[in-house]
Amino acid sequence: MSLNVEHQPVRALPSEKPIRLLDNAGHAVRGAASGGFELPELDVLLELYRRMVIARRFDVQVTALTKQGRLATYPSAYGQEACEIGAISAIETHDWFFPTYRDSIALLTRGIEPGDILASFRGDWHNGYDQHAHRCASQATPLATQTLHAVGLAHAARLRHDPIVTLTYLGDGATSEGDAHEAFNFAAVWQTPTVFLVQNNQFAISTPLSRQTRAATLADKAVGYGMPGYHVDGNDVAAMYAVTLAAVARARDGGGPTLIEGVTYRIEPHTNSDDPTRYRQAREVEHWKRRDPIERLEKYLVSEGALGDDVRTEIADAAESVAAHTREVMTAEAELDPLELFDHVYARPRAALREQRARLEAELKESAMANDSSHAGAAR
């Protein structure tokens, strides 16, 4: 395999109408509006449905736990399940995923333990899962920075002729950051096997899309990098899955990166500490609630006779058990050792950190002793 790709750069405007395979009433869309993509088979759609239902139940559970103070913060993806689940379901186990703080449900779908996903939001440690084991990077907070990591890893794999793909998510707001630009450009110039999913949920905290870009669609940005861009109905999981799957296949075949914009909506506040009444109308939220991605697919599956009561119950049970498990792990306190603070800063040990560790150790012993004796005193 040569790394020199001779084919012509892509030079076309994405369709301004979002690509859609299922409309909001749950009817299959045909013709130009589908952008030439095929509706996935029923079994695939059913699996996507199951994943979305479980993801939402998890998300709702975590939001509730956060309100109870079990987590320091939680950025919910309620309403974005079609983007989150559709795209992550299009990559393979050996591919890599580079998520943001918003994408916990994609990590859940990827098979990571709820407790490990949420360790960071609970405040135990910055990152709680084994990135290499799951081929999932940590959830990036500094916006758009992870997109470069995705490009770098993809390029390294390509240099090794390892046919993996990297998938990275970013928000509509994050597209304004310089790093997003540099990632798009490096990916295009190096033709790395990278799929960028912009989840355009209309807001960056309080800032609406109209103050973020003047482009007709965020997918239009692809043009400036000579890569294909797709403007997709981000509440249509069928479309999200199909478009991502095609992009992943192209990337794996040496066809380079793709930019996908999923048009969706952030139903919940930015995080639990946000107050969206300051910047948007309840009406708007209601409007988008009526475009719910799960309901849409449900209608289709029901109309196709693929979602009977038994399956529905089975899925609901599975979702409940994830929720119960999540409650359980988030209610138990994790054992934390403050001395571990010093253990992972450097691979090569440092005398100064050893000294500081010893000082904290002595301090902790002293205060434990003070506590013990005061408890002893109280008991007497």
Partner: protein, 344 residues
């Protein structure tokens, strides 16, 4: 516009009755009064408009002044600071907000290569009266990247003025002064103090923003603190008083320039000094404090200047920040490591 507008020269809005005000409220009032006093003052950044900023420091200002005086920018910090350079060149006095310390890093090149250097580059022909507000430091239970202390980066950069108030009165007065200053000012706001309150009559004018202030007198030790650690130092002083150790607390307020005069006078009096900050010790701002206090007062010092700081590690996750942050206890324990024979 003179180079050194003093606080007393400034246009004073009608004096209000004393009222309890948080630091966030005082900053909000300072922005409001500055915008009222000078229509060259414009405010922008991420979410400063309808939301009023994630800490509500700009609350209500867009409703009052309209979206041509204060507005939400696209989400790009280099863009925010870089456009502020151009605005200031035109004659505006932009006040921009970085949402957290760590999110100012994308703007680092604009800060260091332009904001700091423009005036010198142009032999004073182009000055940049920009205020970059940075909600700083930790102790708010924030997840990764929300509790960094970035002051060492800015103070190591000639051309920048760096200040950090520790209380509502200073917050108001220093922000007004920063906005009136013809030099670019990095205005650092300790997040953990945003909700601390004081009875204030506005407008309030405290010491000039380039001066340190003795906030508690003492005779045995000088504690040098700024922003969030001023409270820590005062707590330590209280606790020590019961053990007959008299601690003087100096609120540095201005990190760059450093007020050698006020600090030197205190240290020469007590002969012992320690500096307290949240940031890691190695290469932290406390190094400059310790080095210069020692250089200038070596023969007055009975003991080395101590640095009581965060550890040399990245800021920890919420559940471990308590162990990381310098507390009054840790301050007192550190003072105990000095040999105290010289004390009567």
């Amino acid at each position: 516009m003179t180079a050194t507008t003093t606080p007393t020269e400034r246009a004073q809005p009608a004096t209000s009755a004393p009222a309890p005000l948080t630091m966030a409220g005082a900053l909000n009032a300072a922005l409001r009064d500055a915008m009222e006093a000078d229509d060259r003052v414009v405010v922008y950044g991420e979410d400063v408009g309808p939301l009023g900023g994630v800490f509500r420091v700009t609350d209500g200002l867009q409703a009052r002044f309209g979206d041509q005086r204060i507005w939400d920018s696209p989400l790009a910090e280099s863009g925010i600071v870089g456009t502020a350079v151009g605005m200031a060149m035109y004659g505006m006095r932009p006040v921009v907000e970085m949402q957290f310390d760590a999110f100012s890093y994308p703007a680092f090149e604009q800060m260091v290569s332009h904001v700091a250097k423009m005036r010198n580059r142009t032999k004073g022909r182009v000055s940049l009266p920009i205020v970059v507000r940075i909600p700083c430091a930790g102790a708010i239970g924030g997840v990764e990247h929300h509790s960094d202390s970035s002051e060492a980066y800015w103070t190591a950069t000639p051309g920048l003025t760096v200040v950090m108030p520790s209380n509502p009165a200073d917050a108001y007065s220093m922000l007004r002064e920063a906005i009136e200053c013809d030099d670019p000012v990095v205005f650092m706001e300790p997040k953990s103090r945003y909700w601390s309150k004081a009875e204030l009559t506005l407008p309030v004018t405290t010491a000039p923003m380039d001066r340190a202030v003795v906030v508690r007198e003492g005779t045995d030790v000088t504690l040098l603190a700024y922003g969030p650690t001023v409270r820590t130092a005062l707590e330590a002083a209280d606790a020590a008083a019961s053990e007959d150790l008299s601690i003087e607390v100096v609120d540095l307020r201005s990190l760059s320039p450093f007020d050698d005069e006020t600090v030197g006078a205190s240290v020469r009096k007590t002969s012992r000094a320690a500096v307290i900050h949240e940031a890691a010790q190695f290469g932290g701002y406390g190094a400059e404090v310790a080095a210069r206090v020692t250089e200038r007062n070596f023969f007055h010092l009975a003991a080395p200047v101590l640095r009581i700081t965060g550890f040399d590690i990245p800021y920890p996750s919420p559940k471990l920040e308590e162990q990381y942050l310098p507390t009054a206890d840790r301050v007192l324990a550190a003072l105990d490591t000095w040999e105290w024979e010289d004390r009567a």
